[in-house]
């Protein structure tokens, strides 16, 4: 999976910033996507292409449990978020949606906006094609991979019920 990086190196980017509460009267990805990250980066949407990645610092997605944060990013075309660490509920929400969240300590200092990245999920490697570097991450836990592989928690439950 290849795409361009959008780097927000700060720690504690919270779900109020990813999708402000004033838009929580909507829940469709296409509607939420229009406002993704707008309070910290008004150009986010115009600069993002389908398949891009967000790179960020520690504790990404802290704060409110709103799953709208995952939907807003996915709606905007983001394929995966790679952060130094994640806040708990956001991380769960990613897994439950079959959306890829990769914990890779130190990545926020190494990848700049615009860098071309290639992620090898099974191998646990992010390749920076622009800088000719590679970063190793802890593989996504097996249980989480099963849920992601099924397409999300509800699909996983449906699949299990059928077995």
């Amino acid at each position: 999976m290849k795409g361009k990086a959008h780097t927000y190196p700060r720690a504690h980017i919270n779900t109020d910033e990813i999708i402000p509460a004033r838009y929580l009267n909507m829940d469709q990805e296409k509607d939420l996507a229009k406002h993704a990250m707008e309070d910290i980066d008004p150009d986010f949407i115009s600069n993002t292409k389908v398949g891009d990645f967000i790179i960020s610092g520690e504790d990404f997605g802290c704060g409110s449990s709103r799953e709208h944060a995952v939907w807003a990013l996915r709606g905007a075309g983001i394929r995966a978020v790679i952060a130094d660490t994640f806040a708990r509920i956001f991380y769960r929400n990613c897994i439950n949606n079959g959306f890829i969240a990769i914990e890779c300590k130190g990545i926020s200092e190494k990848v700049q906006t615009g860098d071309d990245l290639e992620i090898d999920i099974d191998g646990g490697i992010v390749k920076n094609l622009t800088k000719r570097e590679a970063y190793i991450f802890q593989p996504i836990p097996k249980f989480a991979q099963e849920i992601i592989g099924a397409g999300g928690l509800l699909d996983y439950i449906v699949k299990k019920a059928k077995q």
């Binding site: 910033e17 929580l24 909507m26 309070d39 449990s65 509920i89 929400n93 928690l153 509800l154 699909d155």
Partner: protein, 420 residues
């Protein structure tokens, strides 16, 4: 090796003798709370997957609170959908307008929180209910949907951090100041993925409501849950509200903690958390001159009757400063009624504040007190992130109800101790 209260509750709920931190389990959920913002998507996704039937309607408690009374057409449609769904699914515990309130204040008040149970809600402040010795945690809409469909949910058993809070709180220093101080000390991810267990003589002394304030903000340190071992106060509080049976669990003396943090709060002053993180703590004496446009008293953190009493005591016979506006939002209908009966609402109105219907309101920038660019608010709420209460160019300073009230009088952030 002993177990923590959190491990014991989780073990029972996955029908095991014991569980250890790091294990992935499927736990049975006793109470599923549903509010307006995160439930609507859950209803839609269940329908889309053919999982519409709620497995255990009797375990579900529904309480629209974020944008009620409906703030706009889209919010009205959301609540209308939840109302139809609850009826269709035969969910009887539905707190509609007139019995409504902020979910984390309403749930324990109405007797739906019992020690030893598991509780989830699509809301991060669900950690509140650990104050009564339950395992209670916030989740997203998909988790909520899964729990509605199956009555279970997956968890990684968390490690626990034990906070031993000892000493004696000075007059004018409250649970809010203690938790802001703890978050200031360990940081907004200091308890990431962990259960925060609060203990010590200060917690023993605290009322059940004050304990809720402590546990409410566990999430602001990244915690999965907050929890307090039940005592007689807990039992009395719960038994006054429900006849349903419950089982008490306590942490063993030899339970294993990832960290034990001792805190002596005897010298703690009232705390103010500066923008834009709850961990930006300053003692009120170090604050300097911070004029405020708005003073906001309410929320699941500090909108309960004790909070209103403290604020009213300070505001009695005083006036909100010219140029500052004060908004009081009792967290539930019963709190509103009680405050009215005690004359607290009269005190607020006479002081020049306004009192609204229960709602999460402006705490999350929803409605009922949104901030304009450049405005500053001192608030009894739980988050001061960029844009949390309105414009991304506004500022939120978190403090106790007493500090909010004293600041309203002087029009700038003020030490409440001089008014007590």
């Amino acid at each position: 090796m002993g177990s923590t209260i959190t491990e014991k509750i989780l073990a029972v709920h996955c029908r095991r003798e014991e569980v250890v931190p790091g294990e992935l389990i499927n736990a049975e959920i006793d109470v599923i709370m549903c509010h307006d913002v995160t439930t609507t998507p859950a209803i839609d996704m269940l329908a889309a997957k053919g999982l519409s039937k709620v497995a255990y309607p009797e375990r579900v408690v529904v309480m629209p609170d974020h944008f009620v009374p409906n703030k706009d057409i889209k919010s009205a449609e959301m609540v209308a959908k939840i109302r139809r769904w609850a009826k269709e699914q035969k969910i009887e515990k539905f707190y509609d307008l007139g019995r409504h309130g902020v979910c984390h204040a309403l749930l324990p008040e109405q007797g739906h929180v019992r020690p030893g149970t598991t509780i989830i809600c699509g809301d991060s402040h669900t950690s509140t209910h650990g104050a009564l010795g339950a395992f209670s945690t916030g989740v997203g809409s998909t988790d909520l949907a899964a729990a509605l469909a199956t009555g279970e949910l997956w968890f990684k058993v968390p490690e626990s951090i034990l906070f031993c809070i000892n000493g004696k709180l000075q007059k004018g220093v409250y649970a809010k100041d203690v938790i802001l101080h703890i978050i200031g000390q360990i940081g907004v991810d200091g308890a990431l993925y962990k259960a925060m267990e609060f203990s010590g003589e200060v917690v023993d002394e605290m009322s059940v409501e004050a304990r809720m304030t402590l546990c409410n903000m566990a999430i602001e340190a990244g915690g999965k849950s907050g929890v307090i071992n039940p005592d007689q106060k807990t039992i009395d509080y719960v038994k006054a509200r429900t006849d349903e049976p419950f089982k008490i669990y306590h942490s063993d003396p030899d339970a294993k903690y990832s960290q034990i943090i001792d805190i002596d709060v005897s010298k703690l002053e009232p705390i103010v958390a500066f923008p834009h993180l709850p961990s930006n703590e300053k003692s009120v004496s170090e604050v300097g001159n911070i004029p405020v446009d708005q003073a906001y008293l309410g929320s699941c953190t500090n909108g309960r009757i004790e909070d209103l009493r403290v604020a009213a005591e300070i505001l009695k016979g005083k006036q909100v400063a010219s140029g500052t506006r004060m908004i009081v939002i009792p967290a539930t209908t019963d709190i509103w009624k009680q405050a009215n009966k005690e004359g607290l609402l009269d005190i607020f109105m006479a002081a020049g504040a306004t009192v609204s219907s229960p709602t999460c309101g402006a705490c999350l920038g929803g409605h009922m007190g949104i901030l304009a660019a450049g405005e500053r608010c001192v608030s009894s709420t739980n988050r001061n992130f960029v844009g949390r209460m309105g414009s991304p160019k506004s500022e939120v300073y978190l403090a106790s109800p007493a500090t909010v009230a004293a600041s309203a009088i002087e029009g700038k952030i003020t030490d409440p101790r001089k008014y007590l």
